[in-house]
Every structure is written in structure tokens, then in C-alpha cells.
Subunit: 208 residues, 2 copies
């Protein structure tokens, strides 16, 4: 019912709504939002209805109200504090990504096993891995980003889970195991790119 895909779409709606708002719009109809996001209008309405969001049967939805609803559902009422483990290429890029702060996601600290990496990247301080447990407990952190090499990923995840992390966004290209009270989403770039390669060739061949 409230599945991964519908929640991802909510994020996208929110994103586009901000855009509409900065362009001065006050109300929006499902059709226009659907077009902007690239789904059908029924999909938009069904998603909203699923999460108990309702509009007005003429004049559509008030953008401010919609954003408020989405913010509530997506926990934007409070700043979400997130740690990043692994301050290498991808970890550092994420630490400097302004898109998180814009959405109320604060990268509060980084952790790495390499003392040379325990410096400062952008606004984020990086600490030795041994400090992770205490830091997570003391600050009540629930969410972490995992950006360590493949072979370190599972043991590092175990440390994170042991410290109390309940949600992880993982970049290592490996299947991780965690107790079911910990949610794990993985971003796998090689398969994504291979997918693009596959379908771009498939399209070309079809048209030949």
C-alpha cells in the first residue's frame, strides 16, 4: 500500500511543487503536477489519497497546503541528522552536496578508518571510526550513509546497526544483511549505467 515507489513519488512531487511555488503559482491541478513529474494524473491523485491528502474538486490543490502535508509525511518538521561513513570520493562529494541541506537533511558528521581522512570536508567534520558508536548514541542519530569499499561494507554496517542506526543509504555494490528493524536502500551505479547502455543499444537496434 504505502510502498517504496509511492513514497519516492511524494518526494518528487514536493520537489516540483517548490518549483511551481517559486514561479508564483498558488494552486495546482493533478494534471499539471503529473506532467511536471512525468506520471499520470490519476497516479498523482491516487498517491495523495493514499496518504490522506485531499484537494478541492475544482481548483485543485493549494500548493502551500500540499507542501505542508508532504513535509509532514516526509518528516520535514525536524531537521534530519545523518552521518556519512567513508570519506573517500563519493562520501566527500555527498558531504559537499547542498541538495541535502535544502531539504532539511543535515550531514552532521563523517567517519573514516584512515586518520588522514579525519579532517574537515566543507562544513562536515570527519572522525575516526571508533568514535562512531558514542557519537550516534549521544546524538540520537538514526540515519547513515554508507560509502566505504565493498569489503568493508558489511562489518561497518554491523557497527552502525550496533550503535543504533535504523536506516542506511548504501553505495557499496553488495547485498548487505541487517536486522529487519534497520531499513537499507542501495544505490548501485554500475547496474544503472549498464541499464542505460543496454537500452540505448536496444533502441538503436529496433530502429535499424
Amino acid at each position: 500500500m504505502k510502498n517504496r515507489k509511492s513514497v519516492i513519488r511524494l518526494s518528487r512531487y514536493k520537489n516540483e511543487l517548490h518549483r511551481f511555488k517559486t514561479q508564483g503559482a498558488v494552486r495546482i491541478v493533478s494534471n499539471d503536477l503529473a506532467y511536471a513529474v512525468g506520471v499520470t494524473a490519476s497516479q498523482v491523485r491516487k498517491d495523495f489519497s493514499l496518504f490522506g491528502i485531499s484537494g478541492n474538486r475544482r481548483g485543485g490543490y493549494k500548493i502551500d497546503e500540499l507542501i505542508a502535508w508532504l513535509n509532514k509525511i516526509l518528516r520535514k518538521d525536524e531537521v534530519q541528522k545523518v552521518i556519512i561513513v567513508g570519506a573517500g570520493n563519493i562520501g566527500s562529494a555527498l558531504m559537499q552536496y547542498s541538495g541535502f541541506a535544502k531539504e532539511g537533511i543535515q550531514i552532521i558528521a563523517g567517519f573514516d578508518i584512515d586518520p588522514l581522512k579525519c579532517r574537515r570536508v566543507g562544513a562536515v567534520s570527519i572522525y575516526p571510526l571508533e568514535k562512531l558508536n558514542a557519537f550516534v548514541r549521544d546524538n540520537g542519530i538514526g540515519i547513515g550513509i554508507l560509502a566505504v569499499p565493498e569489503n568493508a561494507a558489511q562489518p561497518v554496517l554491523d557497527i552502525m546497526v550496533g550503535a543504533g542506526i535504523k536506516g542506511v543509504l548504501n553505495f557499496a555494490p553488495i547485498r548487505l544483511r541487517a536486522p529487519e528493524e534497520c531499513v537499507i536502500n542501495s544505490v548501485n551505479l554500475v547496474p544503472e549505467l549498464e541499464n542505460v547502455i543496454y537500452f540505448s543499444n536496444a533502441v538503436r537496434e529496433k530502429s535499424e
Copy 2:
């Protein structure tokens, strides 16, 4: 039929098969591969059957044969040359990512509008954006990674498509429009992270 998801799974299978192989395995049954990847055994068999891969009704699949098949389907017979447009945080991280080369994906050049960025990152040289068109044509490049700021994404994509790019992996959090002969996959990290946040809270609340 041959949909996005099944192709992504093929990449994952290939990944895990390499792992099994380095551990000395010669054959594998659908069950074990399924467990490693995190899907059901029927899913594995259906995927293989969909792409015309067959095993042996006792003794499963020969790992080498499987890998050869997957490599063929995923175009690993030749090195895939890919460009990256936008050499900022994420673009540079990708240029230094060894995971691509390992899978036969070569980042052959970068492009950026900022002259200061037109240096060398790892093994990748970065050129001014104006050189993109000629470079793509001369080298017959078909695939590109788009890592420029949101507001530059659509115009830059248009340039890429104009130059002959047929497949794009996009990191800008915006819906892009391209002619249908150009395949676009987007990676949206904010929604991914918001998804983790949503479900980690949902799990916690359910158990309360």
C-alpha cells in the same frame, strides 16, 4: 518483457557470480544465486529464461557460461566509452571511481563550462563544454553521465543529444525531456534518502 528491472537484475547476478567465481565455485544453482542477490529462485530462472540463458536440469548453471552470457547481453564484448559532463563534486567522484573500469566502462573524457575545472582528475582529462560536440562525433560516443547543476541540466542535455549521445545517466534532480531515441535514467539521492527516513520511522512506529 525485457524491462528495466530484469536488466538491472542481470547486472547484479553478474556481480555476485564474479564473487562466487573468485571463491572457487564452478557451478551454481538458482537458489544460491537468488539468496546472494536477494530475490527468489524462480525470479532468477525466469530472468535467465527471458534472455535465453539455459542451465542444466541438475547441477544448475556453469558460472563461466553464465558470465559469458551476461557479458554478451550487457555488451561487455567491447569497452564502453562514456563521457561525464560537469566536473564538480559528484562528477569528479565518478571520474575516480574504479568500479566502472572493472566492468569495462571507460570514462574517456569530462566536460565543464568552468575553465578552472578543465584540468585532469585521476586518469580523466576535462575539456571545455564547446569541445563536446566534436569529441562525441569524432569518437562515436553514445553514452554520457550528466552531473551539472539543476538549472543547466536541460540545456546541457540538449547539447549532448545534439552531438549524438543516445543514453544518459542523470544526477540532476529534475525531469529531463529528450527525443525518445535517447534513453535517460536518473539517480535522485534526496528522494532515496527521504525514502530511508520515511521507512525507518514507519518501522519504528509499527513496533511501538
